[in-house]
Amino acid sequence: MTTALPVLLLMTSLLPAGVTFFLAQDSHALRNALQLGGAVLKLALIIWMLFAVADGAAYEAEFPLAPGLVVLLRVDALALLFISLSATLWFLTTIYAIAYFGTKAELSRFFGFFSLCVAATTGLALSGSLISFFIFFELLTLSTWPLVAHKQDKPSLRAARVYFAYALPGSAALLWAIIWLESATGPVLFTEPPDLSGLDPAALRAIFALFIIGVGVKAGLVPLHGWLPAAMAAPAPVSALLHAVAVVKAGAFGVVRVVYDVFGAENMTALGVGVPLAIVASFTIIWGSVRALQQDEIKKRLAFSTVSQVSYIVLGAALASPLAMIGGLVHLIHQGLMKITLFFCAGIFDERAGVKRIDGLNGMGAQMPWTSACFSIGALGMIGLPPLAGFVSKFYLGLGALEAGAPWVLAVLLASTFLNAAYFLPILYRLWFLPLASGAKGDDRAPGLVVPAVVTAAATVGVGMLAASPISPLGWATLIVTQGYGP
C-alpha cells in the first residue's frame, strides 16, 4: 500500500541529522535528545510495521525524478530486517558515542553525519529501485567520509582518503553497471525483476561483475577491502557503525539485492556467475581471517575479521539455495550484533585502559570483567560456538551449501572456524589467564560505554538461544525466504 510511512522512517534519522548540523557545539542535551529521540521513534515505527509486514504487506512511497529516475521507498520483510538492525544498533551506538565523546569538540558535526549515515542506510534498505539504491549508496559514502576523518589527525585523514579512493571507483562501477543494464531494460524496480533477454550473456556477465565490484568495495570483498583496515583510524563508535551497521552491511545487502532482485537466481545459474561469486566470497573469508591472524592491534584484527565475516552473507547469496539464503540473511543481523559488541569493547579497552594492542590485554579480565566478558561472548560467537549467534548462521550456511550441491563450501566454513579460533582464542587467553602487566590498569565503571556492549552481547546469546522462535532474526529471515524471496 502507498503511505508516508517509509518517508517517515527515513525522516526519523534525516531530520535529526539536518538539525544537528546547526546546533551549537555545547548544546549537548538537545543534540542527544534529538539523536536518541529519532532512534526511539524509528524503533517504534519499525515495531508498528513488523506485524503488518509479517503478514506479507508492504508500504510504498514513490518520488519520480527525471523520467526513468524513480526513487521508490518500499518497506518489505527484507528491508525491515536490515532496518531493524540498523535502528537498534544506531540507538545503542548513539548512547555509546555520547558516553565515548563526552564533551569533545565537533560533536554537532559528528552526530550530524552520524545520523545522516544511518539515514542513508535506511534509505538503502528501503530502496525499491536500482537508482534509488545507488543514490543512497552514494549518500552513504559521502556521509561516512567525514566520520572516518573525524579525528582529523594524519592517520584518519589518510584513512578517509583511502576510503574515498576505494569507494568512488566502486560507485563508478556500480553506476556503470546500472546504466548499462537500464539502457537495455529500462528502469529496474526490485519488485518486478527486469527482462534481461535484451542483453547477450557476455554483456550480462560483465554487468554482473561490475555490480559486484561496485557493491563489493563496501562489502570488503578481497581485493577491494584495503580501505576497511585503514579506516580503523576512526573513533570506536564510527568503527562500530562502519563494521556492524552501515557500510559493509550496505555492501552485503547490495549483493543480495543484485543477486536476487536484479538478476534472480535462475539467471545467475544460467550465466554461471554464482559459483565464481561464491569462490570470491570464500577466498575473502579465508584471506580476511589469515590477515587477521597477522595483526597485533585489536581494531585491525577486528577489521580483518569483518572482511572475512561479511563475506558469509555474500556466500549465502551466491549459493542460490533457500537455506544458504536464510543463513546469509540471518548473518546480516548476527554478524552485526557480534561485531558491534567487539568494537564497543575494543573502544572501552582503549578509553578506560588505554589498550590498543592485543598484548596490552593481559590480565584485563579481572580489571574490566564486564567488558572482557562481552568481548569473550562476541569472539566466541564469531568462532561459531553453539548456541551463540554465529553458530546458527554458520549451520544454515553449511546446510545451504549442501543443498546447493557445493560441499566444498563446508571446507571453507571449517577453515574459517579454525582461523577465527586461532585469532580470537589467544585474545581471550590473554584477557583471562595471563597476569596483568605491571603498571597496566583499567576499569569499566562507565555505564554509558558498558551497557550497550552488555546489551549487544546479551543479544548475541539471545538470538542464538531463541533462534527457533518466530520473532528471532532467524525466524524473520525464514519468513522472508518463505515469502518467496530469493531462490
Partner: protein, 489 residues
C-alpha cells in the same frame, strides 16, 4: 511576449542607470534592475511552460528581412539559470565589488558591465538570427573581457588581452561562416535555414562557425585562455565568466547543429567534437589536479565540465527503445549546462569570500576555513557533489542521461569518459575540500556577514535541487525541442 522583451530591455536600462545615476543610487538601481530581470526571466519561463515557445518578430518584420526572437524551453531555462546566477553575483558583489574593497574603478565598472553581459546573454538565448547572434556574441565577449581586466592589475590585463585575442579570432571565424551562409542562401534565420536547399559552401560555413564557437566555448585545445582569464578576474566576475559566458556560444553551437543544419552532421565531425570534449574532460581534470590556487582549480574544472556537454553530438538520439524518455542525451547535456552554471558560480563566490577573508586563495592558506566560515565550506562541498556527478545532484542526472544514451547506442567509450571524469573531479576537488575542512581553525582576519556566506550556499543548494526535482526541468526542456535532439544527428 512582454516577458521576452522585458528580459532584454530591463538589464540594459539598469546598466544605463548604473552609469548615469549619482554614486549613491547606482548600486541600488543595479540591484533593482537585477531583481526585475530575474522576475522577468521567471515570468518568461512560466509563460513558456504554459503556452509553449514564445516568438517575436522585431518591429513586425518577418524573417528573412526582420529578426525573429524565439524563447523555447532551452532558451528560457538558460535564461532562468543566468538570472539566478546573475542575481546571486549581484548580491555578492554588493559586498565584494564595493569601491572600498575592489577600488573605485572596479566598483564603478562592474555593475554596468555585468548588466550589459546579462542583457546580451538573454539576447543570445532567444535570438534566431545568425548575424544577430554574432553581434550578441561580440558584445558578450567585450563585456567579459572588460570584466577580466577590471582590476587593472598587469596579469589581469594580459589575461584579458589574451582572452580578447582568442575571442576575436573566434568571432571572425564565425562571421566568415555567417557571410558564406548568407551568400549561399540569402537568409540567416535559423528556422529558414533549416528548410534551405543545401549549398556546396555550407560545409565551409559550418566549419568556420563551429571553430569560432569552439574558441569562445573554450573547448580543448582552445581553452588555454580561460583559466588565466577566469582566475585573474575578481571573483564575482569569474563566476559570471565561468558559469555563463561559455554557455552562450555553446547554445549557438547547439542551435547550429541541431536546428539550423542538422543535415550536415558528418559522423567524423561529431566524433571529433565529442573526442575534443573527452580530451577536455581528462585534460582539464589533470590540470586542475596540478594547481595550487583555488580559483585556478575551479577554472580548470570549468574546462573539464564543459567537455561533457560535447558528448551530446554523437550521443543525441541514442536513447534506445527501453527508456521512458526521448532526447535523453540532449536533455542530459542541457542539465549539465545548467547544473554546472549554478555550481560553478557558487564555487567562485566561495573563492571570492576566501579571497576577501584571507587575502589569498592558495590552498595552503585556506586550511580550516570551514571552521571559520562554516556555510562557505558547506556550499563548496555541495557544489563539489554536483561537479563530481554524485546523486542526487543535477550533475548526476546529467551524467545518468548521457551515460544511458552512450550504452543504448553502444558507444561505451563515452560512458567511460563520463565515469573517468567523475573520478578525476573527485580527485581534484578532494584537495580543496580537504584543505577547507582541515582541523586548523583558521581565523579570518576579516569578518564575513552570514548574509554574504548564504549566497553561494543558495546557488549550491539549487544545483543539487536541480537533480532532486529533475522531473519539472526535464519536461520544461522538451518544449520546442528540435527533432534531431530526439532522433539524433
Amino acid at each position: 511576449m512582454t516577458a521576452l522583451v522585458a528580459g532584454l530591455t530591463l538589464p540594459l536600462l539598469a546598466a544605463f542607470a548604473a552609469i548615469a545615476l549619482p554614486m549613491r543610487a547606482r548600486v541600488p538601481a543595479a540591484l533593482l534592475g537585477a531583481g526585475l530581470t530575474l522576475a522577468a526571466s521567471l515570468w518568461l519561463a512560466v509563460v513558456v511552460w504554459q503556452t509553449g515557445p514564445v516568438t517575436l518578430s522585431l518591429g513586425g518584420w518577418q524573417p528573412p528581412i526582420g529578426i525573429a526572437l524565439r524563447a523555447d524551453g532551452l532558451g528560457a531555462a538558460l535564461g532562468v539559470m543566468t538570472a539566478l546566477v546573475m542575481t546571486a553575483v549581484a548580491l555578492a558583489a554588493r559586498h565584494e565589488m564595493a569601491a572600498s574593497v575592489a577600488g573605485p574603478r572596479a566598483g564603478f565598472g562592474f555593475w554596468p558591465l555585468m548588466l550589459l553581459l546579462w542583457a546580451t546573454m538573454n539576447a543570445a538565448f532567444v535570438s534566431r538570427d545568425l548575424f544577430n547572434l554574432y553581434v550578441v556574441l561580440e558584445l558578450i565577449t567585450l563585456s567579459a573581457v572588460a570584466l577580466v581586466a577590471i582590476s587593472g592589475k598587469a596579469e589581469a590585463i594580459a589575461a584579458a588581452l589574451r582572452y580578447l585575442l582568442f575571442a576575436l579570432a573566434g568571432s571572425l571565424l564565425y562571421l566568415a561562416g555567417v557571410v558564406l551562409t548568407y551568400a549561399a542562401h540569402g537568409t540567416l534565420d535559423i528556422s529558414l535555414l533549416a528548410a534551405r536547399m543545401a549549398a556546396p559552401s555550407d560545409a565551409l560555413a559550418l566549419g568556420l562557425m563551429t571553430a569560432g564557437l569552439l574558441v569562445k566555448t573554450a573547448l580543448f585545445p582552445f581553452h588555454v585562455w580561460l583559466p588565466h582569464a577566469h582566475s585573474a578576474a575578481p571573483a564575482p566576475a569569474s563566476a559570471l565568466l565561468s558559469a555563463l559566458v561559455p554557455k552562450a556560444s555553446l547554445l549557438i553551437l547547439l542551435r547550429l547543429w541541431f536546428e539550423a543544419m542538422p543535415d550536415l552532421a558528418a559522423p567524423a565531425a561529431l566524433l571529433t567534437l565529442a573526442s575534443l570534449g573527452a580530451m577536455a574532460v581528462i585534460w582539464g581534470g589533470l590540470l586542475a589536479l596540478a594547481q595550487a590556487r583555488l580559483k585556478l582549480i575551479v577554472a580548470y574544472s570549468t574546462v573539464a565540465q564543459l567537455g561533457y556537454i560535447f558528448l551530446v553530438f554523437p550521443l543525441a538520439g541514442g536513447d534506445g527503445g527501453a527508456q521512458v524518455w526521448a532526447a535523453g542525451a540532449w536533455t542530459g547535456a542541457i542539465f549539465q549546462t545548467l547544473s554546472h552554471g549554478l555550481a560553478k558560480a557558487a564555487m567562485f563566490l566561495v573563492a571570492g569570500i576566501y579571497l576577501v577573508a584571507m587575502g589569498s586563495d592558495r590552498l595552503s592558506d585556506l586550511r580550516g576555513m570551514a571552521r571559520a566560515l562554516p556555510m562557505t565550506g558547506f556550499a563548496f562541498a555541495l557544489a563539489s557533489i554536483t561537479l563530481m556527478g554524485l546523486p542526487p545532484s543535477g550533475g548526476f542526472t546529467a551524467k545518468y542521461l548521457l551515460m544511458t544514451a552512450a550504452f543504448a547506442s553502444g558507444q561505451w567509450a563515452w560512458a567511460l569518459v563520463l565515469a573517468a571524469g567523475g573520478l578525476l573531479a573527485a580527485a581534484y576537488l578532494y584537495r580543496p575540500l580537504a584543505a577547507i575542512f582541515a582541523r586548523e581553525s583558521a581565523v579570518a582576519p576579516r569578518a564575513i556577514p552570514r548574509s554574504w556566506q548564504a549566497i553561494p550556499l543558495g546557488l549550491a543548494v539549487l544545483s543539487v535541487a536541480l537533480g532532486l526535482l529533475s522531473s519539472v526541468p526535464f519536461e520544461f526542456l522538451q518544449i520546442g525541442r528540435p527533432d534531431p535532439a530526439a532522433e539524433g544527428l
